[in-house]
């Protein structure tokens, strides 16, 4: 089992400034799953109840001189502490920029190693960052879990495949920051959030407790997938009435999720996505959030990066 690669400058920027801070908010521990073509950061795919998150990079987006081999179709997966990974990367970067010169001198080498840690007789696996400075080399070892067994890796791959299905209707959220500040304030009111999404391009969120009902509605959103024209007769109704009529008509779906999960999913604005879409999976299985990234300086989607998460739906009867 071998993995080594050089992180490109773009890869360092993506990870250090954008993705690792965002992934760290999602959860301390994630799986890093490396294949011949992709590096994928996965949260909660094997243990069911939290937000499932998948951040996938084509290898060219992060690395060059990428070499991987394993007896399991060249796939390796392990668990890693995101904040440690972030710290190691940050400090390697600072050494690179401080001492590095020339195009090759300041390259950041990353590899999988097994080492004997101090005060231990058992060799342990590490993800190692190696930076060559002017006169010195700095090596940072980030401890990782034992690589996943063949059976677990298969399980992870199956969960990953299952997490790829697209909701039939997706609406684009116009302003992530605005939505985040709203949801952050909403957290004080209650714990359960009803989210409904219509084919007319409406996103309706509502918290309802014994003492208060608080909701927000966004209309005229861009729709991807199944769409329909909003009935004229509904135009002057309240948000609540319109969304329940749309559900009866089969033009909308509604799910209940945790406000905390919803707020957490919005932390991905730290990864600086160019747009975000919300959709409800068939049968209301989960609330899916898909973030898109554009190729810098264009409005074209960057297919080498993909980021999405799936919020578990809470059973209203159980809580």
């Amino acid at each position: 089992m071998k993995f080594k690669a050089f992180l490109t400058e773009n890869g360092v920027n993506l990870l250090e400034k954008r993705f690792l801070p965002a992934l760290d908010r999602m959860g301390k521990i994630c799986h890093l799953y490396l294949t011949r073509d992709h590096a994928i950061f996965l949260h909660n795919l094997l243990n069911g109840d939290g937000i499932q998150s998948v951040a996938q990079f084509r290898r060219e987006a992060l690395f060059d001189d990428y070499r991987i081999s394993s007896q399991n179709e060249d796939r390796i997966a392990f668990a890693v502490d995101v904040s440690l990974l972030h710290r190691a990367l940050r400090s390697s970067v600072s050494i690179c920029t401080e001492f590095g010169s020339g195009p090759t001198a300041n390259r950041l080498h990353i590899k999988l190693v097994k080492k004997l840690p101090a005060n231990s007789s058992q060799p342990m696996p590490f993800l190692t960052f190696e930076t060559k400075g002017f006169k010195s080399a700095v090596i940072q070892d980030v401890p990782i879990s034992k690589p996943l067994s063949r059976a677990h890796l298969l399980e992870l791959q199956t969960a990953l495949d299952a997490a790829q299905d697209l909701p039939p209707t997706l609406v684009q959220v116009p302003d992530l920051n605005q939505l985040q500040s709203f949801v952050d304030r909403m957290k004080h009111i209650g714990e359960l959030l009803n989210v409904s999404i219509t084919k007319y391009g409406e996103l309706h969120m509502q918290i309802s407790t014994t003492f208060i009902t608080l909701g927000a509605e966004f209309r005229q959103l861009l729709v991807i997938g199944e769409q329909a024209d909003a009935p004229v007769e509904d135009r002057n109704l309240s948000a609540q009435a319109r969304s329940s009529r749309a559900i009866l008509r089969g033009d909308a779906q509604s799910v209940q999720v945790s406000v905390k999960h919803f707020a957490k999913s919005l932390c991905y604005h730290l990864a600086k996505p160019d747009c975000a879409f919300y959709g409800i999976a068939p049968q209301g299985a989960c609330l899916t959030v898909i973030f898109q990234f554009f190729i810098p300086g264009s409005r074209q989607m960057d297919k080498s990066i993909s980021l999405h998460c799936r919020l578990p739906v809470l059973d209203p009867g159980s809580s």
């Binding site: 304030r185 004080h188 009111i189 003492f211 208060i212 608080l214 927000a216 209309r219």
Partner: protein, 303 residues
Amino acid sequence: MESSATDSDAPDLVCQLDNVQGMVDALTAARWKRQQDAVIEISEHGMVVIVEETSCLQAKVYLQRELFIRYEYGAQGRPRLGVSLGLFVDCLNTFSAPGHSNTIEIQYPGPDMQLLLKSVDSLDASIYAEIRTRIPDTISWDYNFEPAGSTPLTFTVKTAALKEAIDDLEWPGASIQITVQPNPPSVTFRGDGHGDLQIDFMYYANADLLLAFHCDRQVSYRYKYKFLRATTSNIPGSVIRDNRGSKLTIGRGGLLKVQHLVSVARTSTSHTHIDSTGYQHPSRIAYIEFFVKPEEDEDTADD
């Protein structure tokens, strides 16, 4: 409840406000603990939000009709409704997104006697809320504030200095004695508890802290620290930034009145200069009054 809502379609109140944050600030000043029941009294002059605790402390937040860009009052008498202050403030807060103009409409009552709120400034993004109201408890004691003598005993102190002094008195804690004396003109806060700490505001020495002073005889009363602290614990940052003053008056029987001013001006039109007494066009100010009863077992230095 009044039957006014049933026989006419017009609600008791429909009003619009263009600075939600100002209202949040003003009401937050009266939040000294998590669970507080507030009574909102609506009249043709505006709204008063009243909160009290164990008959020793009362706060009133006056939101005059001039603060609202629209204020339609259609009730007979003065309708009163009870809400949870925390819930009301948290709810208002969700309407106040930074970097956006937030105009909200407040209506009372809704079909089920709710307090209805909705944003009115954008068609494509709207926020709405319905807060359940309850029939308010009667106000347990009347804070009938009367001057202690022929001349009022009053002083005005920089709000920031007052807050700092009260925060510092946390260490001795327990009860705080406030002494106002004419000669030399000064105000003394003294705490005796785990230790003792005395803070003096000398009128002539600290003219920029003690802004006004009226006292013709010495008086001295003790107040529970936790009630005194409630009067400044949640003073909004805007009050400190605007460098405002708070007016304290000691009335008959030692009843202490603390008055703060909170700006509810739109941020875009906020005044660049406010003079040292914190005077600004009165229509854009919310008034907050606290009434604190003195501790009873204390022998006072004056009547």
